[in-house]
Symmetry: C3
Subunit: 138 residues, 3 copies
């Protein structure tokens, strides 16, 4: 069995951003040498997500507006923010979008449907954050 | 290490449907010959889900009604739909329900709790869609 | 390839509780002898979750309040509850929080970001429930 580990670092300009990381995960799969196996991609921070969806800008604005309705930014509303933070909403938004994806690796490639793309979802950005890629297989 | 790959194809009659696929995943585990490992089951389309819950028809209607409140179908409300699509809500619904499940394989079986069943959740159906099963282990 | 399986049992005092299980998963990783691989941790019950977030009590109260808004407890509102159950809301809450996490194992440890902790989320407690840990790797 073969395993490979890599992390990717982000410093976003905005508080909330959705960033396509598919090509970086594909590169990691190539470097790993794994032909058949599983690829885990997860946020290492608890106010960020890794998720799979479509790379369409209108849809991304829909996601961001929808998350703001489900879990609005409100500095003084959440108990977590009484600790001096203002990011409780980001913990909730990340929960809706998910921490991680697991993708099959087949014939040395990410085994994707036609529109699947991997995104890093940042909900409390403008500082250093990491994503982990771990690949296991043969 | 052993790996196995299979896909399942759906053509749903309705726009929204929840379909029990547990027996098809169990068959794939048997075919794989894997006794101890992990089984990934994921939607290959970004308006569909794979999730685990109870096979109870009332609960399924609750899920569908609840998702319609959280992310209502509205042809003219979402930016994504200005591309000519009408399925932005389906992208959001699928996000709540999840893209994938990872299930342990133990002694050649899906290692389930008493009520766990695997479902394909379609939110923009009436066309051809695929689910991927990937199993790795010994 | 090496595999390891263990379950953890809970009998919660409250209907809704979030319990930090990180040290128990870490012990399982040590027992497994796996140095490089993947660790799956999943609820075996369909009204409970396993998720990763921060161990901060205010945030946990935020999560519980937020879930109650998204999927309120209402004995007579859900179709599922006409079967004699009163836990339809718990099925929905668990869906928001997720059934499982997959964590990388690197150098014999859970490969975590700085604040990542694993929680069992109970939404219909006061009875016996199980969580499964399955580890595969070398």
């Amino acid at each position: 069995m073969n395993t490979y580990r890599q992390d990717i670092i982000f410093n976003t300009k905005e508080r909330v951003e959705l960033i396509n990381i598919t090509s970086r995960v594909q590169e990691a799969v190539l470097k790993s040498g794994v032909k058949e196996g599983l690829c885990l991609v997860n946020a290492m921070h608890i106010t960020a997500s890794v998720f799979i969806n479509d790379d369409e800008k209108g849809l991304h604005r829909d996601f961001i507006g929808w998350l703001e309705k489900l879990a609005p930014y409100q500095k003084n509303k959440y108990r977590h923010n009484s600790t001096g933070e203002d990011n409780a909403d980001a913990h909730l938004k990340r929960t809706v979008m998910g921490r991680e994806v697991v993708v099959a690796v087949t014939k040395g490639q990410l085994d994707f449907g036609p529109w699947e793309q991997i995104f890093y979802g940042e909900f409390d950005g403008q500082r250093r954050k990491r994503v982990l890629i771990k690949i296991i297989g043969d």
